[in-house]
């Protein structure tokens, strides 16, 4: 048996229901309380029923438009986040190159940008949760920035072990960024 896809049904079909309910209630009231004995009373009753029907339709349209506006606003926010997060991937790749070439000043600036964009595009609860993967990544980014700043200040190089560790982290972090990108992409669509 074919299932009905309610999402693709035009919501305006509900107005048929409104119309049927309005007519039924009007007829019921008319017969019960003799509201349309005179022609002018009949006209008045039809006018009131039409007004009620129109008001219901207008309220429904306002409700639907309000929801649509919210959805558009969220999609625009997701689009902005998608764009910001997409730039992080590029920064991460450039940071790896900076680290390999000992250009720590550039790497620090890029990592600070990555950290800030990451923070801005995450729900605050993700960072306040001390066990979340995003909080751990955020702390690791800060830790890397600290180490690179010390190396930069001392005009020295980071150890081979630190370099490997940083590159490995940036690679795994990029995978999380790709996953975040997909989340934002799905919320746009």
């Amino acid at each position: 048996m074919k299932k009905i896809d309610f999402k693709n049904i035009d919501y305006r079909l509900i107005y048929i229901g409104y119309f049927i309910v309005t007519v039924t209630v009007t007829l019921f009231l008319s017969y019960t309380y003799k509201l349309s004995d005179q022609p002018k009373d009949t006209i008045s009753l039809i006018a009131n029923a039409s007004e009620l029907f129109g008001l219901s339709v207008a309220l429904t349209e306002i409700f639907i438009l309000s929801r649509l506006t919210d959805r558009i606003r969220k999609s625009i926010e997701s689009l902005q986040s998608y764009s910001d997060i997409s730039n992080i991937s590029i920064f991460l790749s450039q940071t790896k190159d900076d680290l390999i070439r000992n250009k720590y000043g550039k790497a620090i600036l890029r990592l600070e940008k990555v950290r800030d964009v990451y923070q801005e595009n995450l729900p605050p609860i993700e960072l306040s949760n001390t066990t979340s993967i995003h909080r751990k990544n955020y702390d690791t980014l800060n830790s890397m920035i600290s180490t690179l700043t010390m190396a930069e200040q001392g005009s020295s190089s980071i150890s081979k072990k630190d370099l490997n560790e940083f590159v490995t982290f940036l690679t795994s972090f990029n995978e999380i960024i790709t996953s975040l990108k997909l989340t934002f992409k799905n919320s746009i669509l």
């Binding site: 306040s128 909080r135 702390d139 690791t140 830790s143 600290s146 001392g154 005009s155 560790e165």
Partner: protein, 108 residues
């Protein structure tokens, strides 16, 4: 040396770690973090091979205010031992060393 404003804090953290009131985590090799919902404290070890100097550093990051402050102490300074102690207790906490050692003794 450790700036005065941090001294009491460092001693308190060492004491709380010894009392197992707080639990450190390893954030990367030779760096440990202690987290609250609003901030992270990090202690790490760093060697400047060119200058032949080793450092213990301390960092405080506030997530909401984006505060990033701290200091470092090198092996020629007086407070190096205090920082070494902080680093050691942080590492022991992160490695859950008390249980590890008990388990080791049990396995002997």
């Amino acid at each position: 040396m450790i700036p005065d404003v941090y001294k009491t804090f460092i001693q308190t953290i060492i004491q709380k770690t010894n009392d197992e009131a707080v639990k450190w985590e390893s954030t990367r090799d030779e760096a440990y973090v202690l987290r609250t919902s609003a901030a992270t404290v990090e202690v790490g070890y760093y060697v400047d091979h060119d200058a032949e100097v080793s450092y213990y550093y301390f960092k405080y990051f506030n997530i909401e205010k984006k505060t990033d402050v701290g200091f470092r102490v090198n092996n020629l300074e007086d407070d190096y031992q205090t920082m070494e102690r902080l680093f050691a207790v942080a590492g022991a906490s992160a490695a859950n060393i008390k249980d590890e050692l008990s388990s080791f003794l049990g396995d002997l």
